[in-house]
């Protein structure tokens, strides 16, 4: 199963999502803000990053841009999670370098299939 970096500042959402992912035998590592996300991504090299876009310290947009600029982390697929359903968010997320996009509240089944799709697309490394 995959190693998933979950970047989420809301404690409840973090708890809920990580427990549900772990139940499906994924390894979940946690970051609570953008800066931590960068550190964790470099240190642990996850297979997928679930990135909340509104984060303290360093927001998801900036964190994503930095991750995609770093050679060590740029290949890691990032799924943007945003509570904003305004049009343009999706394009904005993709433009920032995210590979996928989902709005909160999360449809868990759909999220799982997106994770699977991204993992399958990954070059055999």
């Amino acid at each position: 199963m995959a190693r998933i970096l979950l970047v989420e500042d809301n404690e409840m959402n973090r708890d809920m999502l990580s427990r549900r992912l772990m139940k499906r035998s994924h390894e979940v590592i946690i970051a609570v803000d953008g800066r931590q996300a960068l550190e964790m991504a470099e240190a642990r090299v996850p297979d997928v990053i679930l990135m909340d876009m509104s984060l303290p310290v360093l927001d998801g947009w900036e964190a994503t841009r930095r991750l995609k600029a770093l050679p060590a982390t740029r290949a890691i697929p990032i799924i943007a999670l945003t509570a904003h359903a305004l049009s343009g968010e999706r394009e904005k997320a993709l433009a920032a370098g995210c590979d996928e996009f989902d709005t909160k509240p999360i449809d868990f089944a759909a999220l799982l299939s997106k994770i699977d799709a991204l993992l399958a697309r990954r070059p055999s490394a």
């Binding site: 427990r19 509570a83 049009s87 343009g88 370098g97 509240p105 697309r121």
Partner: protein, 773 residues
């Protein structure tokens, strides 16, 4: 001849003056003539009477003595009177006693001594006269108041005639003179009246012609004409003042309009500002609401799973309710947000071409379980070939799912059908989606409120059937946005039939540029893409999407232009359409691969044609089929753009590999590692790098052998190679390396600076490279 009433005033007045004068003169002249003639006659009568009396006195004796000769002698004295024609002395009985005629031969006419003389004789009247062509005077001859006879004298009227003539001449002369004077005076006087009128009429004509209400009639008198002028001038003054008033009001109105327009513009700006604020507020609100909802839905779902696994069904139903309530709330928020977006004009359409049948299949898969919940039979039917539609797939799906889920909700143990057809109306292609059920249906009143926000069929219904009350309002507005509509017919207790009608090709929202997103990466930083496609719409779509994804995009409309542009700009990657007029995609691909300068640019074939193997055989780097999957397109293009800056490190020393990798990656290069020649060849087969770094000192196959094997490969032998060696190479070794090695770095200790400098000198820097290919 013109009638008198049509004469000009001038002619009329002159005619009147002259006519009146002439009439008066005529009458006066006639009077003069008559009275003149009368006077002459009276004088003549008196003269003749005196003459007769004188003769009578002289003939008394002759009469008394019957001496006719003496009487004739006395009568003869009349010869001196030129007017006397004849004269007689009559006996008292009236018989002629003596006679005289001016002309000898003529006899006294018997008639002269006719009845009138006889009457005189009988009545013994004294002095009586008679008229005819001549003037006759009869006088009695007396002796001691006894009539002894009569004297009769007849005279011609020559004197009267002469008198009449002379009077006529005089009067006529005077009359003509007077008439002349009258004409002159009359002409002068009529001008007093006619002149002002003529002037007035010319003023009226001028006003009428020039519409110049400042003109005034010139007043010359205070009579009725003066009053008329005053009246006319007063009227002009009023018109003028009204004109000025109107002009003033018009100006004021224009000023007012200008002011109002400015106010409106301010109001519009304020409203737009308010709208932006509202949208931002809604976005934030939506975020605030979604975060806790996320937890509610997620935890309840998780708990449901857990209790099910634990076999504890006691809480399952309650948890299901919490979850359903959470989802319902989410639907509400989404609907409110969508409606707000539509109102704020922020709703955007993402147009794509898609097969209608495929979409219907997907919808059927979602709706079927919903239909079964209420024990309904559901079937979807396509009428004829419904083909492809160009619209916002997500929104079409949203509308159809909304109407269909309503149909399922309001029908129990019945049937719900989706019938899809394609038709041409008013020269446009339409897709019609009919959603027919035999559920509870609606009354007229309910139908009227159906598409209103927050208006559900009725409270009792709302209590039983959960729903947002916003779905249909939203669905209709979305349909409107795409140029379509939703209509409905329904009968209470019998069922409803909704028709969603949408254009087969939804027009682009022109003039609506995508908002520039400041947070997006720099334009073109993802790489440069050359899009070769003959279809302008496809080019435009591709350009917009790729620019949004951070690529710099150039487009070419045909193969020749594409080849020319490829040579000029050396893009990171080319997307190539197969079906093009003239030089088709395959020909262009072959030409690209045949050119030494362009052969290494990866080409991604984009087409509806499914000839994948031919594409790869001709050297295509990737193959995408239309309609395009956007994330896939981006991923593919990113991969190839990165490939342009990929460096392959072939070294058995892991420590050194990591050092080089770090240095290169910091400079923006994408690094691929291989620990030996065999795995290096594998990496090469996966993807060609822009540069190969080789450590010559490796276990078998060593660097020399590796280089020899890539030299045999057509595609690889063009890749520049940098050789790393800790020792100085002998001449023989240099010879073995051949021409492919571009640089030889002899170094005992690794210097990242130097390495990067060499690489940049060879193939440029990644940043530079991205711009110039």
């Amino acid at each position: 001849m013109r009638r008198f009433r049509d004469f000009s005033i001038r002619a009329k007045l002159t005619t009147i003056v002259v006519g009146t004068t002439a009439l008066v003169l005529l009458l006066a002249s006639a009077g003069f003539v008559v009275s003149g003639v009368q006077n002459v006659k009276q004088a003549m009568i008196r003269e003749l009477a005196a003459l007769a009396d004188a003769i009578g006195t002289n003939t008394v004796a002759a009469l008394v003595f019957h001496d006719a000769a003496a009487a004739r002698e006395t009568l003869a004295a009349l010869r001196s009177q030129p007017n006397v024609i004849n004269a007689q002395v009559l006996s008292p009985a009236g018989d002629v006693f003596a006679s005289f005629t001016a002309v000898e031969t003529s006899d006294p006419p018997a008639a002269v001594i006719g009845p009138e003389v006889r009457h005189l004789v009988e009545t013994r009247a004294d002095g009586t006269y008679a008229w005819g062509h001549s003037l006759t005077v009869v006088r009695r001859v007396r002796l001691d108041n006894e009539s002894v006879g009569f004297i009769r004298i007849e005279a011609n009227l020559d004197r009267v005639t002469a008198a009449v003539r002379s009077v006529l001449i005089t009067v006529s002369a005077v009359a003509i003179l007077l008439l002349g004077v009258a004409l002159a005076v009359g002409y002068r006087l009529q001008r007093l009246v006619s002149q002002p009128i003529v002037k007035l009429t010319s003023t009226i004509s001028a006003v009428g012609r020039d519409k110049d209400y400042t003109l005034r009639a010139e007043k010359t008198s205070s009579d009725e004409l003066g009053v008329l002028m005053d009246g006319f001038n007063e009227m002009l003054a009023q018109i003028q003042s009204r004109d000025e008033q109107l002009a003033r009001q018009r100006n004021e109105l224009e000023d007012l309009v200008t002011v109002r327009t400015a106010e409106l513009q301010r109001a519009v700006v304020a409203a737009e500002e308010a709208n932006r604020t509202k949208t931002t507020f809604l976005a934030n609100m939506s975020h605030e609401l979604r975060t806790p909802l996320n937890a509610i839905i997620g935890y309840s779902e998780m708990l449901q799973e857990e209790v099910t696994e634990a076999g504890d069904e006691r809480f399952a139903r309650d948890l299901q309710r919490i979850n359903a309530a959470g989802r319902h709330l989410l639907e509400l928020i989404n609907a409110v947000l969508d409606l707000a977006k539509i109102e704020a004009g922020k709703m955007e359409l993402h147009l794509d071409s898609f097969a209608v049948a495929t979409m219907v299949d997907e919808i059927a898969a979602v709706i079927e379980p919903l239909a079964h919940q209420h024990r309904n039979a559901f079937h979807a039917r396509l009428e004829g070939d419904v083909g492809v539609m160009r619209a916002d797939l997500t929104k079409v799906r949203q509308v159809l799912l909304n109407v269909l889920s309503n149909a399922c909700k309001f029908t129990e143990q019945g049937e719900v059908a989706l019938v899809v057809g394609r038709e041409t109306l008013e020269e446009r292609e339409w897709l019609t989606f009919q959603i027919i059920d035999n559920g509870i249906g609606m009354t007229e009143a309910q139908l009227g409120r159906l598409f209103q926000e927050f208006a559900q069929a009725e409270d009792s219904v709302a209590g039983k059937y959960e729903g947002t009350g916003l779905g249909l309002a939203l669905s209709r507005k979305i349909s409107w946005m795409m140029g379509g509509d939703i209509t409905v017919v329904s009968e209470r207790g019998r069922g409803s039939a909704f028709t969603v009608r949408l254009p087969a090709s939804v027009p682009d929202q022109s003039g609506e540029e995508k908002r520039d997103d400041g947070s997006a990466r720099l334009p073109g930083s993802a790489g440069t893409v050359l899009v070769i496609d003959d279809e302008p719409a496809a080019r435009d779509l591709m350009r917009r999407f790729l620019v949004a994804a951070g690529f710099a995009v150039a487009t070419a409309g045909d193969g020749d232009e594409g080849l020319r542009m490829a040579a000029e700009m050396r893009p990171d990657v080319i997307t190539l359409d197969v079906m093009m007029p003239g030089r088709d995609g395959w020909a262009v691909l072959a030409a690209l691969k045949a050119s030494p300068e362009l052969a290494d640019i990866p080409v991604v074939m984009v087409t509806v044609v499914g000839e994948r193997n031919l594409g790869f055989a001709l050297g295509a780097a990737d193959y995408l089929t239309k309609p395009l999957d956007r994330p896939r397109l981006t991923a593919v293009l990113r991969k190839h753009c990165r490939g342009r800056f990929r460096v392959l490190i072939v070294d058995d020393d892991a420590q050194l590999r990591r050092q080089i990798r770090q240095a290169l990656e910091q400079d923006g290069w994408l690094v691929v590692e291989a620990a030996n020649g065999v795995s290096a060849l594998e990496r090469l087969r996966e993807e060609s790098p822009a540069l190969i770094l080789v450590d010559l000192a490796m276990p078998a196959p060593d660097g020399f052998e590796f280089l020899a094997s890539i030299h045999d490969h057509d595609e690889w032998k063009r890749i520049p190679v940098v050789v790393l060696t800790p020792e100085r190479l002998s001449d023989e070794e240099r010879l073995r390396l051949g021409g492919q090695v571009a640089r030889i770095l002899e170094q005992r200790t690794f210097s990242a600076e130097r390495l990067l400098g060499e690489i940049r000198a060879l193939i440029g820097s990644p940043e530079k490279g991205r711009r110039h290919g």
